[in-house]
Every structure is written in structure tokens, then in C-alpha cells.
């Protein structure tokens, strides 16, 4: 389980994305420097950090980073 702050840190420190907590709710297209290819790297990193398996098909359809966070932390 990771906190929202840790999630934001991952995005900044691992993916080099200049995001803050306020960006999480935006549509992915509206996130600065976002590219769909980041989702693959993000999946790998989240699985490594949380030790959980992510539902890839759902992550790939996630409309926002907040939605990715919910999928990564859903029990």
C-alpha cells in the first residue's frame, strides 16, 4: 500500500514527470509531459513498489493518474 504522496513521488522521481497531487485528477492528456507510453513503465514500477499485481487491462484504460492510483491500492 502506498500513500498519495508516495505515488506522486514515484511519478516525479521514477518517471521524471513534473506533477503534483493536484494533477492526479486531470485527464491524462492534460497532464504536463504525459505520454501513453509512461503507463507501461508506471505499471512495472507500481508492481515493484507495492508487491501487488495490477490489472493491466484496467490500468491501460484509466482516465487519470488518480484512477491508476485507485487500481494500484484497491483491495
Amino acid at each position: 500500500m502506498i500513500s498519495v504522496d508516495e505515488f506522486v513521488s514515484l511519478l516525479r522521481d521514477e518517471l521524471a514527470l513534473p506533477v503534483t497531487a493536484e494533477d492526479l485528477g486531470r485527464a491524462l492528456d492534460a497532464v504536463d509531459s504525459w505520454d501513453s507510453v509512461h503507463l507501461l513503465a508506471l505499471c512495472t514500477i507500481l508492481e515493484r513498489e507495492t508487491g501487488r499485481t495490477l490489472p493491466f487491462a484496467e490500468v491501460l484504460e484509466a482516465p487519470s493518474l488518480a484512477a491508476v492510483y485507485r487500481l494500484a491500492t484497491a483491495s
Binding site: 521524471a16 507510453v37 507501461l40 513503465a41 491501460l60
Partner: protein, 640 residues
């Protein structure tokens, strides 16, 4: 450490600090590289070039079948590890066939517009075959699809060869997934599938074209990298795993390093705990671990690999903090040693800092320290050398000698596209050079020495068998290289077929032996102007008058064949400063001279005198009625 990279990125200083990135990456473990790559991939290469125009830049056009986005950061990081800048352009998804088949494609336009070395990476994956199999299928169906695909790749490689000049096409073998073999329940049929798959890969590997390189993925897979992640493959069409793409990017980094002329030539080894176990000064020659026992066998295995590298033209040297005498005795007499004194171009055992020893070694061997790979087990020595001599590739071996071989071979430091006869003879030539140096010390003046050396020089058009060596000279020569224009083998061949161009080789010999093919002169005739497009000479032989004798012969030839003037250019690099005045010293006038390049002309009114201590024969490849015969240009004299 990698956080320095993140901090530089956030401070917007990554482009300005790009030259320090190589050092930062050198200290990172492999699993930290993807993250570093994501930061570096944020950089605009144009910004780096604006801040550091001399950064060697490589153009990479990535095409293939699946999702290959992970390659961009991986390539960026691997190139930065070698001080190179990757300019990566990603093609459309699954665009490989049209990209390569259409001479008007963006792929070819991108390669043609490249300022430096250019590569097309066509990344093949098993899905190009699996996607065409419909149930029910058997091994023979897979065999048929594979045969079609390989034939297609061969045709595309032909188009590539016809369309590009000097660019390289990188292909790869196809991993065989168990998900495919497991679908055949009959073991005999499954074995046939395995055989057909390997045969297809073997056909790819046998694609022996000068402009094609096939990266064999099997050794990477055998080292434990998984080929694919089923979810990424199914959902995102990423048919090769991120780890495998990272391994592939590393191999491409090695190719780019060669193309940029950054090949390594000399392996410098520490002794205690690197070449043998134990500290010689403490345990004595009888106490070191070198053949017997668990650790001894591990060091022996490492020595075998070092010897194998040495047999392929890699110069070996030792730099050790030890007294000289016990080291010499161990190398000469220890019954367990595989490497002996004569395997080394030089052994330096003393107590001075290693970076000073490396710098002196470079001077003695007439090489740049940038051509050194230095292997040592001490983090202190490795750190010191990295800091003092950033161009040296440092391989830090661990306290576990069984891992030495892997550490040494990790980065293909000494890889070359083709081994030449020169490569194989190089260690012996350097030993002869050592004898020449001792001989020199017995003379009062350089002139007397040169006279006694009895130098013979032959200038002649390049024969087909010499084209690989000529290409290698353009790729590896950094100091005596007037324009540093690198020519892959295919481009050298194209020049030999160009009626206006001449590719001349320079060979030399002296009383200590044959130096072989040591240089090249590239000429181009344009009406009544002869242009020296480049002049290259191996660092082993310069400053003996050979360069003056050959240039004199070129001028004499020009005058004799109705040329009005000879033009020549110089392009400055970090390494070729010592030849900046090569042409003016030979009587050329300066037409223009700037900080980066200069242009010279010679009106042929007076050509230079022959160099008295050199016996020169020159054949410029002109057909005469009597056939092609070398014309003596220099004085044909016997040594006194």
C-alpha cells in the same frame, strides 16, 4: 548518485552538465539505469549540442513490429554511458516493412540527413511469426512463415544497402517463447519447430553484409533476462520485455561507440586480486592464488579470457602497486601463471598513483588514454582513475573472482566489425616498437636513428581484401586524422568504385619488422584540382618522416598528371590538434582558417624534397600501357 541526475534535471541544468553524466552513470548499478534513462530522455538533444557542440551524436531510427517506446530511454542511457548523445526517432507502430521497403520513407530521409553515424534499428519479435499462425497449425506451418519472414528481411536488407550510404541496419534474432512450443503436444513436432526456429535465426546471423549487424539475443536470454511479459505483450503489444530491450540497447550502444571511433585498444590490469588472488607483497609468489584451489581456478579462468582477448589484437598492460622485482619474477617464473611477461606491452609495478602510470603508459604506447580499459578491484583506484582520467573506461571487478570475466566482457569494449590481419599482429608490433625504443636510446640524434631504421614505405590503391582495414583506420585513428570522417566498410568500397576517387593505402616496414597497413590517403579528382579528402596514419608510425614522404609523393603525382592545384582540409577534433599544421608545413598556403576547420592549397610550383631516410614506392592506380607498375618516387637507396 542518480539523484544528482534528478536534481540536475529539475534545476534545468542537465544539458549544460551533460559531459558529467557519463561519470554519474558509471557508478550506477544496472537496475538503476532505466530510471536514469527516463530522466535523460526528457532532454532535447539539440539543447545538449547547443551547449556542447563536440558531443558525438548518433542518429537512431527505431522501427519494428511491437510497441518499442521503452527503447528510447534505454538507448538514451546506454549512449550517455559512453559519452554519446542518442538522437532517437521512433517510427509508427508496426511500420518496419514499409519503412525499409520504400526508398522514399522517413527512415531513409532521417538516415540521409544525419550529421554523424546513423543506425536503423529494426526490432523483430516472435509475434511477427505467431501472428500468422491459425489453428490448427503444425511445425511445418511455423517453418513456412519463418522462411517467408527471413526472405523478406533479406530483401529489405538489400533495399537498405542500395538506398543508404554509410548507415547501419541493426536486426536481431527472434526469441523462441515456450508459449509457442508448448502448444504442440507431439514432442517430435515440437522438436521440428525448435529446429526450424533456430535455422531461421541462423539465417539472420549469416546475413553477411557490411551494412547489416544482427544482434544475437540468445546470450542475453541465457544470462537470465526474460524475453517477454505476457500482459505487456497482450495488452500493450510490447512483445519484448523492458529488460530485454535494455540489454539490446546496451549492444547497440557498443555498435555506436565503434562507429564514433571510440573503440578501446588496450586493457590495463591491476595484479593483486584482479589477475591473481592475494597480495604479492604480503604472501610472496608462492602464496598467490593463480591456478590451484577454488579462488585460484577462478583467477586462472580470468587469465584465460584476458589471453584470448590479447590473441585478437587487444594490447595488454599491467599497472600494479608493487615492487618491480617480485612482479617480474612472478610473471616469468610462477608455474601457475597463464599470462607471461611477453603477453604484456608493458608492466608497470611501482608505488606511484595509477592515473599517472596510465598517462605515461599512453605516452609510451603512443595511444590516447581514451583507448584504455582499466580493470581493478579497488574502489579507491577505480574512483581515482575515473576522476583524473574521465576518458578511461573503468571496470571495477569485485572481491568475487568468479565474476571477473562477466564484468570484463559486459561492455564489449574491444568489439570490432571485422578483425583484420593488423589486429592480430598488433601486440607483436608493439613489442617490436619496444625494441625500436631501446634502439633509439643508443643514438645521439633522431636523424641517425631514422637512417639506421631503414624505413620502407609503399603507397598503393586499396585491394578488396584491404577495405575492412582501411575502414578500421578511419574509425580508430584519432590523432593523425585530418578530417576525422569515419567510413564504414561499405562506404570505403563505394569510394573504390568511384572513378573520380582514389583510396590509397600506406604500408611500411623497417629493420624490426613489417608494420603492415598503417595509413590511408583518400583523393578526389575534380577537373584539374586534386583534393586530399583525408590523410590518416597510425599512431604507431608517425613522426618518422612517413607522412611527409607520402604527401610529397601525392604532390609529385599531382604535378605529373596535369593537376593545376592540390586542395586539402583540416577539421579540428579534441584529438587531432598535433596535425593542424601538417599541410602548411608541407608548403601548402592557407586559403581559410577558422577555429573548427581550415582549407589549404598547393600550387605545385615547387614540391617538397624527398625524405632522405625513406625508401618509397608509390602506385596511384593509373593504368599505363605497360600495365600497373609502381613508380619510384623517393630515392631508391640502400642504407649506409
Amino acid at each position: 548518485m542518480s539523484d544528482t541526475l534528478a536534481e540536475l534535471h529539475r534545476a534545468g541544468r542537465l544539458a549544460a552538465e551533460y559531459p558529467s553524466v557519463r561519470g554519474l552513470l558509471a557508478e550506477l548499478p544496472d537496475d538503476a539505469l532505466p530510471r536514469a534513462g527516463r530522466f535523460l530522455a526528457r532532454l532535447d538533444p539539440a539543447e545538449v549540442l547547443a551547449a556542447h557542440p563536440a558531443t558525438p551524436s548518433t542518429t537512431l531510427y527505431v522501427t519494428g513490429h511491437g510497441t518499442l517506446a521503452a527503447l528510447t530511454p534505454a538507448l538514451t542511457a546506454e549512449f550517455a554511458r559512453h559519452g554519446l548523445l542518442a538522437q532517437v526517432r521512433l517510427s509508427d507502430f508496426d511500420g518496419w516493412v514499409t519503412d525499409l521497403a520504400d526508398p522514399g520513407s522517413t527512415l531513409y530521409a532521417t538516415l540521409a540527413a544525419a550529421a554523424g553515424p546513423a543506425f536503423a534499428l529494426c526490432v523483430l519479435d516472435p509475434a511477427i511469426v505467431i501472428g500468422e499462425l491459425k489453428p490448427p497449425w503444425r511445425a511445418e506451418d511455423v517453418h513456412r512463415v519463418l522462411t517467408e519472414k527471413v526472405a523478406l528481411v533479406e530483401r529489405l536488407a538489400e533495399v537498405f544497402a542500395r538506398t543508404t550510404r554509410g548507415a547501419t541496419l541493426v536486426l536481431n534474432t527472434l526469441p523462441l517463447p515456450r508459449e509457442l512450443t508448448g502448444q504442440l503436444v507431439e514432442l517430435r513436432d515440437r522438436a521440428r519447430l525448435g529446429a526450424a526456429w533456430r535455422e531461421a535465426n541462423a539465417r539472420l546471423l549469416r546475413l553477411d553484409r557490411p551494412e547489416v549487424v544482427v544482434v544475437d539475443l540468445d546470450p542475453l536470454l541465457a544470462d537470465g533476462i526474460r524475453a517477454r511479459d505476457p500482459r505487456q505483450s497482450v495488452y500493450a503489444k510490447a512483445h519484448l520485455s523492458g529488460e530485454l530491450l535494455a540489454g539490446y540497447a546496451r549492444e547497440v550502444g557498443h555498435l555506436a561507440r565503434q562507429a564514433a571511433g571510440l573503440a578501446k585498444k588496450c586493457l590495463v590490469l591491476d595484479l593483486d586480486e584482479t589477475l591473481w588472488g592475494g597480495v604479492l607483497g604480503e604472501v610472496g609468489p608462492e602464496g598467490i592464488e593463480v591456478a590451484e584451489g577454488y579462488r585460484g581456478e577462478a583467477f586462472h579462468r580470468f587469465q584465460r579470457v584476458v589471453k584470448q582477448l590479447g590473441s585478437q589484437g587487444v594490447l595488454l598492460a599491467a599497472v600494479s602497486k608493487n615492487d618491480q622485482e617480485p612482479v617480474a619474477r612472478t610473471l616469468r617464473e610462477h608455474p601457475g601463471m597463464l599470462l607471461r611477461e611477453e603477453d604484456f606491452a608493458q608492466v608497470r609495478a611501482n608505488w606511484r598513483p595509477k592515473h599517472e602510470n596510465l598517462a605515461e603508459l599512453a605516452r609510451d604506447l603512443n595511444l590516447g588514454v581514451d583507448s584504455f580499459v582499466f580493470a581493478d578491484d579497488s574502489p579507491f583506484e577505480c574512483g581515482l582513475v575515473r576522476r583524473e582520467l574521465p576518458g578511461v573506461a573503468v571496470v571495477q571487478v569485485s572481491g568475487e573472482p568468479a565474476l571477473h570475466v562477466e564484468a570484463l566482457l559486459r561492455d564489449g569494449w574491444f568489439d570490432v566489425p571485422r578483425l583484420t590481419a593488423e589486429d592480430l599482429a598488433r601486440p607483436a608490433r608493439y613489442r617490436e616498437e619496444h625494441a625500436r625504443q631501446s634502439f633509439l636510446e643508443s643514438f645521439d640524434s633522431l636523424e641517425a636513428y631514422l637512417r639506421e631504421l631503414d624505413i620502407e614505405v609503399r603507397v598503393a590503391p586499396a585491394e578488396p581484401a584491404q577495405l575492412a582495414r582501411v575502414s578500421q583506420i578511419t574509425l580508430r585513428t584519432n590523432q593523425f586524422n585530418l578530417t576525422t570522417r569515419r567510413l564504414p566498410p561499405a562506404e570505403v568500397r563505394a569510394l573504390t568504385e568511384d572513378p573520380d576517387a582514389r583510396v590509397l593505402t600506406i604500408a611500411s616496414a623497417d629493420r624490426f619488422g613489417d608494420n603492415g597497413l598503417v595509413g590511408a590517403v583518400l583523393l578526389r579528382r575534380d577537373g584539374d584540382v586534386l583534393r586530399v579528402e583525408n590523410f590518416l596514419l597510425s599512431c604507431r608510425v608517425f613522426a618518422r618522416g612517413i607522412e611527409q614522404a607520402v604527401l610529397g609523393a601525392v604532390l609529385a603525382h599531382a604535378r605529373g598528371s596535369g593537376v593545376r592545384e592540390v586542395r586539402a582540409g583540416y577539421r579540428r577534433t579534441a584529438k587531432n590538434g598535433k596535425v593542424a599544421d601538417f599541410y602548411p608545413r608541407a608548403g601548402f598556403e592557407t586559403v581559410s582558417a577558422g577555429p573548427a576547420e581550415a582549407e589549404f592549397r598547393h600550387d605545385l610550383a615547387r614540391t617538397p624534397d624527398a625524405v632522405p631516410h625513406i625508401r618509397l614506392s608509390a602506385d596511384f592506380g593509373e593504368q599505363s600501357p605497360a600495365g600497373r607498375r609502381p613508380a619510384a618516387v623517393g630515392p631508391e637507396q640502400d642504407t649506409p
